[in-house]
Symmetry: none
Subunit: 541 residues, 2 copies
């Protein structure tokens, strides 16, 4: 059966960048664009060339995309100059992307109030801007700003603006509910009317915002009514309450009827298995706590807390799950207090190479200890390396490789011999290894890059510089990332440090430390990282 194409347009890197507190770096944009392309999105909108240095740099070194059409964003030309002489539009075109999406007005109130030009001038701006794009061989998209409010106020004018864009050669006209106030039922009705007024559904897109918590439903209502492009963002990033969440829409479109049988989004079903990972990667880049309750990909999306649900799930998972969590790369979680919690734990231990018999009472001890420590602020979902050590301690499988007698870290800001203000970190670590006492020191000049000038890196360098007879095991290991978060441990705020380490074999593992003192928390995580590596490489205590 041939399925109709349904185009998915990602604007995480443009509208998603409008999220309060979100500020992508060049490297962030590259990573996200690569992930979107690999997932199979039809369009990746990279930003607004010329609007800020990061966006300009990103387009200057445009990513190589296999599937997605790389798209630049801009706005229709301003009144009183030609499309060729508008330097804002020129900067967008100079990015040389195959597709260009321009926002423009369709709401008479906005034309007159926000732009202060006549309705005819605005139509002319739309027509000439898109004619200019098309003449340059670009695929053109029109983001019809405030379309729904505009249509309700003056349907003829709003429709006329769409027709200007289409007649100038636009591939897509996208109806934007810019303020997010239009409800799904009304979106569906207006999309039907727009199609009845002569705009072909296969040229019609929808762009919603989540201000009434209906952005996903509004997108579906538009598709039900005949629109064939959805614009949205990963994790629903976006200004105010966010854009339509592609992370929710993609699995719905691929797994749920009538969409699954009817439409081809270009995303292969097997790619859905990457969705949870990609969603978490974005949060990781943004150093945001992932939303546990996110549809499909949240850590709690398949967590069954109610006793009645948990016991039914054991009989048949379809009793309380609308899809198989593995299809979206997520996992079922059954609380630790029952037997299903124990079988989850056994699976996780097995992944770490630790085999424990079913029914072993130590399984419950591990679950209790994990829960107690998570209440203190530890995060074992992220720090699998440290989780493994917690389990090994209770199972009596944790060798005592070394004992830390003391450490000291100093950070000093002072003038150097040339009178310049410099900051220097220095660390001293003293460990005992089988009766031998080893003192080891490092300072900022041991940093693996200019960025690693801080106390945690100095401490890491000192700890890894001389570990006596274990030195050979850890020579190839390095600290690749650390994240710090203030969290709650019991009633007091504590600092949680997550450290990512890597070794010469390309293995990457995460460890965690918690303390009222950031340096102490870091040292716990560093120490766990070293112990994990020694175990994994078969060192004997």
């Amino acid at each position: 059966m041939t399925r109709e194409p349904l185009s998915l347009f990602d604007t995480t890197l443009r509208d998603g960048q409008q999220t309060h507190g979100v500020d992508f770096s060049l490297e962030d944009k590259r990573r996200i664009a690569a992930a979107l392309d690999e997932l199979g999105l039809a369009y990746v909108e990279g930003g607004w060339p010329g609007a800020n240095p990061t966006d300009s740099d990103f387009f200057d070194s445009a990513p190589q995309l296999d599937t997605a059409t790389f798209t630049a964003f801009g706005m229709t030309k301003r009144a009183g100059r030609s499309a060729g002489n508008d330097e804002v539009l020129a900067a967008v075109l100079n990015a040389n992307t195959p597709a260009v999406c321009l926002v423009g007005k369709t709401h008479d109130f906005h034309v007159e109030t926000a732009l202060g030009i006549t309705l005819d001038e605005n139509r002319q701006n739309i027509r000439e801007s898109f004619a200019h794009l098309v003449a340059q061989g670009r695929e053109a998209l029109f983001d019809a700003e405030h379309f729904f409010d505009g249509y309700k106020a003056n349907p003829d004018y709003a429709l006329a603006c769409l027709h200007e864009a289409l007649e100038a050669g636009c591939r897509w006209v996208v109806l934007c509910d810019t303020n997010g106030g239009t409800l799904p039922e009304e979106i569906g009705r207006i999309v039907s009317e727009v199609i009845a007024a002569g705009v072909p559904g296969e040229k019609l897109g929808i762009h919603t915002h989540n201000d009434t918590e209906n952005a996903v439903a509004g997108s579906l209502a538009a598709v039900d009514a005949g629109a064939r492009q959805i614009q949205g963002t990963l994790n629903g990033l976006g200004e105010r309450c966010g854009n339509a969440n592609l992370t929710s829409l993609i699995p719905t479109l691929l797994l749920k009827e009538p969409y699954a049988s009817r439409f081809d989004t270009g995303i292969p079903l097997e790619k859905l298995g990457d969705l949870t990972r990609i969603s978490r990667m974005l949060d990781d880049i943004l150093n945001r706590v992932p939303n546990r309750h996110a549809a499909y990909v949240g850590a709690s999306a398949f967590t069954h807390k109610a006793g009645l649900h948990a016991s039914a799930i054991l009989k048949d998972p379809t009793t309380y799950e609308h899809i198989d969590p593995a299809v979206v790369g997520n996992a079922r979680v059954v609380p630790m207090s029952n037997q299903a919690g124990q079988s989850n734990l056994r699976n996780r231990l097995e992944e770490a190479g630790i085999v424990v018999e079913k029914g072993d009472p130590r399984l419950q001890h591990i679950l209790d200890d994990v829960k107690r420590r998570e209440d203190q602020g530890y995060a074992y979902d992220s720090a699998r390396g440290s989780f493994e050590l917690v389990a090994r301690r209770i199972l009596g499988q944790l060798p005592e490789f070394f004992d830390v007698e003391r450490y000291r870290v100093t950070v000093e800001k002072r003038r150097n011999a040339r009178g310049e203000l410099i900051t220097v970190s220095e660390a001293v670590v003293v460990v005992q290894i089988g009766g031998e006492r080893i003192i080891s020191a490092a300072d900022s000049f041991f940093a693996e890059s200019e960025a690693d000038q801080g106390p945690v890196h100095a401490l890491s360098a000192a700890l890894r510089r001389d570990l006596g007879r274990y030195q050979d095991y850890i020579d190839d290991m390095k600290l690749v990332d650390f994240k710090v978060r203030i969290t709650n441990g019991g009633t007091e705020a504590v600092t949680r440090v997550l450290i990512d380490s890597e070794d010469g074999a390309g293995r990457r593992w995460s460890t965690v430390g918690v303390s009222p003192n950031i340096v102490d928390a870091s040292f716990q995580a560093l120490s766990d990282a070293v112990v994990w590596k020694l175990i994994r490489d078969g060192a004997s205590a």
Copy 2:
């Protein structure tokens, strides 16, 4: 005009309690029930009497509600005993609430697989349970579990179960999309069919879950199709991805058409102004970080980051706001960011008491400097205090209160006199104030709480302990929060530290520092915090 009644049923204290990580205390339940009642909800479901000690205690000392009908939750009687002899049902009835809501099966698969009884036995359980409730003078509600999946599998049986409940005297039958997998369009269609099959809309409720991010839209679709009760929770709490979010639904029903003109929810319009406060109160009780992006009540719900939006908002707020934020007790925010225009900037400066003429060329210098510094990793959206200092520097309005000659911070882990391992932080700061050299030190023992044991707090204490002639100005200031993240400054990773400070007048301000060294970044933010306070309190350099 007479409006139709639309009943709002809150299950925050029952289904909301199934949220991963949520565990209400007795006092929590009392506070939440009182807030729901004051807001004007029709029903407050308090929990399941007999299911756990907290729920039992809560019903033992039932709250006095003015508006809401207090409701106990339970399940239909089990097979093989009479309704009067089922001790689980008896515990529910013994709570003596005016209304009782019982969950029961309507999906043949669940009857046979999860319960392991015959379809007829299940119908009998429904009929006898509700007849028993009604005979005791209780208002009865039937939560028809898995109704939509059941209806799709066996519509006659699912409908027969509803009719059993209605014939036994149920006031409401509530169609539950228990697994959250049914999309709004399908919910609407099935609700229409149920009404066509003889279930009156004014006895029909809807209970959705957010597993596809459509719980709010599914509730609206059911109301559009004729249902007249919505069950949901505050802030969308609930198992897995949560229940339908009443915090989003209530303003939509009261402010948006066709609902506002057509329905009376019993919630007075002026009560909407409490909604943001109640939403935050719930997060506060749960010690959760409020969702900045929540519809209507999120801190970012009316935050206008895009430069084009911000400048239009200054002309007319309705250009980019679907409702007036004050109506739901929220507030507009126009943040500073690298996408902001000059009008946005002037607006922001005015909030800080700095008046700059329109067209002043220094406005562009400030924007350029903010952009340059944000590219290095600074974040002025969040750190308004530091932003103000950047602007003042360029405007020539930044006094030089003090000059930092040097500082040193040490964190040491060692054994104390009793042989216990302890971690101690110590800081020394040397500043010059008008020719005078001041050296000041502090250590962990200056910490304002047990949680503040780290180097940043020691540095903060040392800096604020002796600032010579400015000391009086900063005596009432303290560090209340700090956040650390690794971000990209140009091509290198750097550490960004955000610090929140507070003073005796209850003012709270945020400052930022960026450096490859976390301590150095912290010191910048601390120093900015002190300078901001000195300016705000009128100290002269």
